[in-house]
Symmetry: C3
Subunit: 627 residues, 3 copies
């Protein structure tokens, strides 16, 4: 069975509405709701005083209606009494502003007070509902770090120092790792170390990267504490927390190993024609986090959201298309935020399965149709998809590539997406992997801007190529190691041998928005040779020792220098080939690797288990061949 | 008589200049000056020590010259000693920054210290000059809220809680009004409530709207205290404070009921060709605030201002044209900031009636000519203008429509202006009204985006249409009630019946600046039918139950859906018709209502009492027919 | 001899690398390195505990290799222990944010603690190395004010008050100077005065200008204290600190009189085609600061920097061209940041003389070639260049013209550059001068927007013109005096007579980025007459009393009014002539003055002493005639 449903916030409504809710849930085919996510203030209206009666009645009513519950630990947003009594829980920005209550998630992730009170609440809920027959899953907190992933308060500073002490042992080791010999930054003791608050100039790169890692770890630690409580109460009930796709604030590779099932919140912009591709990329990441294990689409909007500057609705059929895309790419559950559209509060203009306008609406008809369709797809549950291509994706490269004081301003995810979208347009299913993982199951591995890499990771990629794997490495890979030191032995490290090149000097191209109007270096460079056209974002001085030069830079100071090279099954790409050119490179790579391609047009095709999914994202009728 | 003059700040000049001032005032036809606005530090140089001698001499000199005085309470800007001794008076921003002295208006509107010291100063001035023969009017403070309309300090927080307690009585009532059941925001006691300081995500909409109302009320309260002092001293002298046109920070509907005469500061940008229309709109608002009673143009610039990034001068004749526009639209006084252009301080590059370059200047010649012209127009004083069309304009809709977390980013005043300007281009004089006011005097009422409306207001509009009034309602009207809850019974509330439509779902169009270059949904939608062309800003799914469909959306996902409808004398417009199309709709409405139109070209025509004003805003000579 | 070398930071490397460093320095022709700039934390690892052993060994090694040392006082960046123990040293922003350690330069320039500890360190270094044979120059601190030129903490506030007291003597004098009679700003005592922190509206112009002056003076005071220590230890060793070209934060005219040799850090953007001209302008400023005395290019990048959003490399030959430009324009030393490219820390992506990629690189080859070339040029040392044209450039005009609440937003340096570049394109060598200096040595003096000028300065310029000097004065000159009061006697002051014009009213033109798309006044104005074309940035109402009108405004409200005038040898230019028009005006002026011009094309020509330099900045081969 594919789970179907959404966030359910009955405390927003008078109790007499609840019966209508369950009746309509049945009508729509709802099988699961996420319950209690923002209920802390209702469950514990005063410190230590708990009121579970209303939740008991909701749970019982859902059970009676055959709807299962993904029950929240309710810790996502502390009530006003908490931060009023313990203002030190409120998080502090880089500039020293202590954020106020009034919205949500106003807590420092390192706060012992928050941790203590959250754990108590989670325990009380876990105890009370451990044996409730409606309970199907634990939903720990909600979108950890969505608004506050980094806190700079004194509590956080202490926690950061403790984390550093655990990581480095001695302050000398920290000094070495961070390269504090420069700019007079050498620390005498851990007590001198601060979070990277507002400062006169560029922060120490090691400090910045470690603070990102620390902040991610603090969130995972919060999760781990509550998950342990849930597991202790109900060893057999799966535990999840909802991820947020490509979210920079937390390393989902690490985190996913701690959940029983990955779940994701996904809100592509219906006004952006690239959204189907971008959504597919997040689905593939979610599936990959647990190495192919089915996952749950925990939240999506039935139509418009409320938090963009302009909130476009989904076109007719778009909600179903994006939902089925998720199933095709490994989801065993399709849920929404939220069941019934709010009439008050900050999210009342976020669409709901049951909209303001009621059941005589396009929205409700599409919701009930999708419920029925998913019921028909029940046997897809648990089946797998098979990807022969993988893209290396890592949080440390994301964090470090997008620091300031680097060669140029690049977006890591945009660069990954450039390669992903060319694969999507060929209907080549793609996994995401870490660079140091076992790559033997893949015919082709793409490595876009793996800026920060351990020597072990570079060795692993080299070994993959040497062993016959088809490897595509792009610019800005292997530039720094895990301590943000320049890669020992030169950029690319051991990949220099595998690729037959070394990099002498960078020549970043200007993103269009950095160009002065009418003057300055053009933002692209001409490419000539086997792959002719233009390159964007980057160029560099490539020294070729043992590779075929497929394309050269054909303009600018690097004219005649290698732009795309090949050594056996290993390609190096020193720019972003524009337009269809990335795809042309891929066609050669995939053909050599024996990976089949299937031009997509507007129709996405995915095979999952015995099911073939064909999903048309265009606005014109198309004929789809059933295979 | 039409008052003529300007702000007079003699303390900037050595006393020997004052005689020249009065002589030149007489030459220019000046009849009134505003005096003492920024004189606190000169009148009370140390706490409790007052020095009135210099002001006595100025008052006497003006009286001797036959110039009347609009005397300020001098409380607009506290002196350095005040905030040095009482730093808690300094206002605090949303981010917690306590603003410093050094410019002006550096006080928290809720500060008891400021209120106490301001009241004392106002009392001393009122007592001293109550019987002075030059005194003609009281000028309370100055441009209340211009720089600091919202303060987030602890004093303000206390005052906000008191205001909320007075409004809601119980914290339960506040919880219901604000919808705190969502996002775990339920308050246990008023002490937990905070101003909407910087917070992790969107603030509670009720909290935001109430803080806007509270902040407006605090300013009015300041005014009320000083006005009472003035009235107690001089029951027959009129009291005013200078408004600032379309100023979001204070509800001028409420405030205007507390002044004896409305006065306004008006600074349209001479570099903007739309300024004449925009200026006319503010004049019409000022006249409407007291239901047609004459008002005073208290400040305008003789030529350039000093506070824009680029400060263009007024072209020859422009100052006179805009001044006469104000008279035509109900002003009984034309004053400037300021009499003599400063040679020091922050406003020295703001033009003056007497410019740096002296009297052998275009500026001085135009000033003296205008003085003479206004003297000739003396009998216009007190006469009224007659408007048969009204536009609904309300502060709560402004505040709420422009919150974050709404369907799209819209400018309320820009939308109002789109309809106003089409009326202006037809020389149709227009009042502004509140939605719950008596509309029976108008043939046509336009309702642009009345986002926030009570059910009583919606009923009043419905009754107007049902009673034969011509009503034009646009998108985003009647969306939320006064507590920011979705309108009970559906968007538009009782207007659904009057208009014969209901709204199923919104489909906002992107403002051009939200479009990604070259991709994404276009920002406009095609319209077909009786009114064919394009619509901007908005589209939506309109369900028509009992209305004629005049135009349909002709592109996009809503293709074929109703865009403009009519039921008897009630029109619904679900987009912003672009170009001349708004005017074409109006032509049909006004013809049906029997309201005459007169294409403006560049010539604005207004009748006030027995006077016909024809004002040419173009740069080419035109022939004006005298009627 | 021309000094050749760069910043040397051996503490970043294990000691075994040092021998390779000196060997390669010899290979490259390095004769001088700047040492110890960021070594505080290494030299004084705990308060009062000094470790000089490592530095002794570096000094000795350099001496053995024949490399001289520009030794730093090492005070540029306080170590973590310092700000941890004395957090009050940390600077505070205008918004009250106390900046954190973690980058560099985190100290309040007025901090007594910083000053005490910095002086002690400088003393210890000066004593220890006073007699070291490698010592050739003292390098005081580093890029003073680069990140923190203005501090708003309480310590700074106290120092500001003391500075004001010294400047004005009485608070009445301050009140008069600042024009505090307006906006109720009159101070009762110095204790009430604050730095211009965040405030509700525009700060007092006098306060803003004095705070700029104070902040500059604090930096110079820091320098002076350390320079005195160095001079006391080694009376014959020259003392410098590295300037930063056109740096608004410190008045280099004043500062330069306190250094023995001017030195400059210069980082033009290789991606900007205007960089050669802009670089030339900074070289000319550096030479002018000490009236033609040779100076040192203390820092430039061998190729890319690391701190722009996009860091372009220098094209082959560009580094040498820009270096020789500096020599041609008076430099007696060419140094780089830094010797060996870092592998860790915030500047690891800043290019180095010895790059990551080692010695088999274009970079290393160009570095060694330049070393050899400069050795061949040894006899240029000490020789002078002769300029017959000067541009007036002053910090007070820069500071005041770019305040808010002025007629329009203008960039002072951009306006200066517009005139400089037209001179550069004619290969006319240009000095910079102060307005009140002796101008008798120049045939032509250009005065772009000398917004703030004393009457003595205006008189000096008038006398220059009256004495037969060729004087070009542009708009926004002589607008305010040194107290930011409007110039007594009218804009331009005594220049009115010299130029035969007075200014009645300003009419600023919109910079393109201030225009609304498609509407509003165009940003340029047509010019007709002897110089026909278009004018940008500015127009105004010029009243001509005694001058020939060469060009008139030919569009807009000023049509027919004078735009460019000439009275004998004095020109007034009331706009910025666009395109080649500035040059056409200059051609007439220079011809009249008898100054030879030489169209540059892409080839810059400069004569220094007996050397003729021809430097091609183009990308095509050109034939250069040797003269």
């Amino acid at each position: 069975m594919i789970w179907y449903g959404g966030d359910y916030n009955p405390e927003q409504w008078p109790e007499e509405v609840w019966a209508e809710d369950t009746r309509l849930m049945q009508e729509a085919g709802v099988t699961m709701v996420s319950l209690g996510i923002f209920s802390w203030a209702m469950l514990e209206p005063r410190e230590g005083e708990f009121e579970f009666g209303w939740l008991d009645r909701v749970m019982d009513g859902l059970h009676a209606a055959g709807v299962r519950v993904d029950l929240a630990t309710a810790t996502a947003s502390p009530p006003p009494w908490l931060t009023h009594r313990y203002p030190e829980v409120l998080p502090v920005t880089k500039d020293g502003v202590r954020l106020s209550a009034g919205s949500r998630q106003q807590y420092c992730p390192s706060s012992p007070v928050y941790r203590r009170l959250a754990a108590r609440l989670a325990s009380r809920i876990a105890e009370r509902y451990a044996d409730h027959p409606a309970l199907a899953m634990w939903h720990i907190n909600n979108e950890y770090g969505c608004h506050v992933s980094h806190c700079y308060c004194e509590t956080s500073a202490d926690a950061f120092r403790a984390w550093l002490k655990a990581r480095y042992g001695t302050v000398d080791a920290l000094n070495t790792a961070w390269g504090t010999a420069f700019w007079s930054q050498r620390y005498s003791e851990f007590a001198e170390v601060q979070p990277p608050r507002a400062m006169p100039s560029f922060g120490n790169p090691g400090q910045l990267l470690d603070f990102d890692r620390f902040s991610s770890d603090q969130l995972i630690e919060l999760y781990r504490a509550e998950a342990a409580i849930a597991r202790a109460a109900t060893p057999s009930i799966p535990v999840t927390t909802n991820f947020m796709g490509f979210f920079k604030g937390a390393d989902y590779w690490a985190w996913a190993q701690e959940v029983d099932v990955v779940s994701d919140d996904s809100y592509p912009d219906p006004a952006d024609p690239l959204s189907p591709m971008y959504a597919a990329m997040t689905r593939d990441l979610m599936r990959s986090l647990r190495h192919g294990k089915p996952w749950i689409l925990m939240e999506q909007a039935p139509s418009a959201v409320n938090w963009r500057a302009r909130n476009a609705p989904k076109a007719p059929g778009e909600m179903a298309a994006w939902s089925k895309q998720a199933v095709a790419r490994g989801a065993d559950g399709i849920l929404f935020f939220q069941w019934r559209q709010s009439v008050a509060g900050a999210e009342k203009f976020h669409s709901g399965m049951l909209p303001h306008a009621g059941t005589d609406t396009r929205m409700w008809r599409e919701i009930t149709e999708l419920g029925a369709d998913l019921a028909d797809l029940a046997d897809v549950e648990g089946s797998r998809v098979d990807a022969r291509v993988a893209i290396v994706f890592e949080w440390d490269s994301w964090r470090s590539l997008e620091q300031q004081a680097v060669p140029t301003r690049l977006s890591y995810v945009d660069h990954v997406f450039a390669w992903y979208s060319a694969l999507f347009e060929r209907n080549v299913l793609t996994d995401f992997v870490k660079a140091d993982s076992d790559l033997s199951g893949y015919d082709t591995v793409i490595v876009p801007s793996l800026f920060c890499a351990t020597s072990a990771a570079l060795d692993n990629l080299s070994a993959y190529a040497d062993g016959g794997g088809h490897l595509v490495v792009t610019f800005q890979t292997g530039i720094v190691d895990e301590s943000m030191h320049i890669t020992s032995g030169g950029y690319l490290g051991s990949l220099q041998a595998a690729l037959g090149v070394r990099i002498e000097e960078f020549a970043p191209l200007a993103p269009p928005d950095l160009q002065k109007a009418g003057v300055g270096t053009p933002p692209t460079v001409a490419l000539a040779g086997e792959f002719a056209g233009t390159g964007a974002l980057w160029s560099e001085h490539v020294r070729v020792s043992d590779a075929a030069v497929l394309s050269v830079f054909a303009s600018g100071a690097l004219e005649g220098g290698a732009a795309i090279t090949r050594r056996a099954n290993a390609w190096y790409v020193a720019t972003l080939p524009e337009g269809t050119l990335t795809g042309e490179v891929l066609d050669v790579v995939l053909a050599s690797a024996g990976v089949a391609t299937d031009p997509a047009g507007t129709v996405e095709r995915v095979q999952r288990g015995r099911h073939h999914f064909s999903i048309d994202h265009g606005t014109q009728a198309v004929q789809v061949e059933v295979r």
